[in-house]
Amino acid sequence: MNTKIAMMVTTAALASLLVSRSAAGAGGAAPPPGKAAAHAALSAAADLPATPPRLPVQASSEARAALTNKAFGKNGAATRQAHEQAEQHAVDGAAGARADAANRAAQAAAAAAARSANADDHAAAGQARATAAKISHGGGRP
């Protein structure tokens, strides 16, 4: 079942991706692939409520005070603050990690380019030496 859902999601995402690529090529405004994949994941996971609907009833003043504290009061505020702090930390970390990875990739690419440039210099120098040797030995012409 999970495999089937995974197939559906990835197929939908791939289809969206292909459509977005072709639409972008044609000047259209299709969603980017990440957003398309997220939309497909939301669609696959949309389920029914877990409990039947039941209208609430205002309780006694003691119960009301407890409910208020739980929802928005000390407990609710503390829980929410904890959620927000943990998430903020994770968001900062995730954004930073990706920036680090991008920096590392950029550094690696720069190093590769430098190595490539050095190799080209070496090759060019070798070629120049060979050409000079041919000329000095009376060659150099095809």
Binding site: A38, P56, R98
Partner: protein, 211 residues
Amino acid sequence: MRRAALLLALVSFAARAEPGADAHMLDGARYFQAGRYTEALVEFRVAARLAADGGASWYVAATLVKLKRPEEALEEFARAESTAPADRDGLFDYYHALACYDARLYLCADQLLAAVGAEVGPRIGAQARKVRADLAPVISAVPAPATIDWYHARAQAAFKAGSMVLAGAYLREAVSLADLRPDGYRRGDALAGLARARAGVAQAARTGTAR
């Protein structure tokens, strides 16, 4: 399974060419698909921070629904509607309805589900109809005063916590429920509170501190 992995790898490969925010959207999608909603929330929040259009807020809100944090989801849906209204669609309305349902805002849920059209597909469309059928007897019965009091109490608590969006949501429900009663129980209170909540939302929008 191997085919699914291959397809996902293809999507991942193609998406890597996209800049920052969308890469986080893709990671969020992967976590969401795997049922790892806490991680998905982090990725979608990073995407929302990096993106210029605010569209990621819709996904943040839907993930909060999955995490059973309906009141935060309602605030995030309000943010998404103000920052990226063009991205709204039937699927987001379905998740928004679930947030209302979980917060016991049943009239709000029913209204959103009524607007869910065929674009969500047959499965979600059938689910929307099923939820509406379950809600029908609950939202058509005359509510007890103690029920309406509950919504007022929630609204007052939301005001105290500084959440004008939530206060407004609970008071809209209180107005609709009062309309179901011949005596319009506390309708005037609800309307006055709703005006206060709307003024608070408008002020927050002006100062950029929407909540």
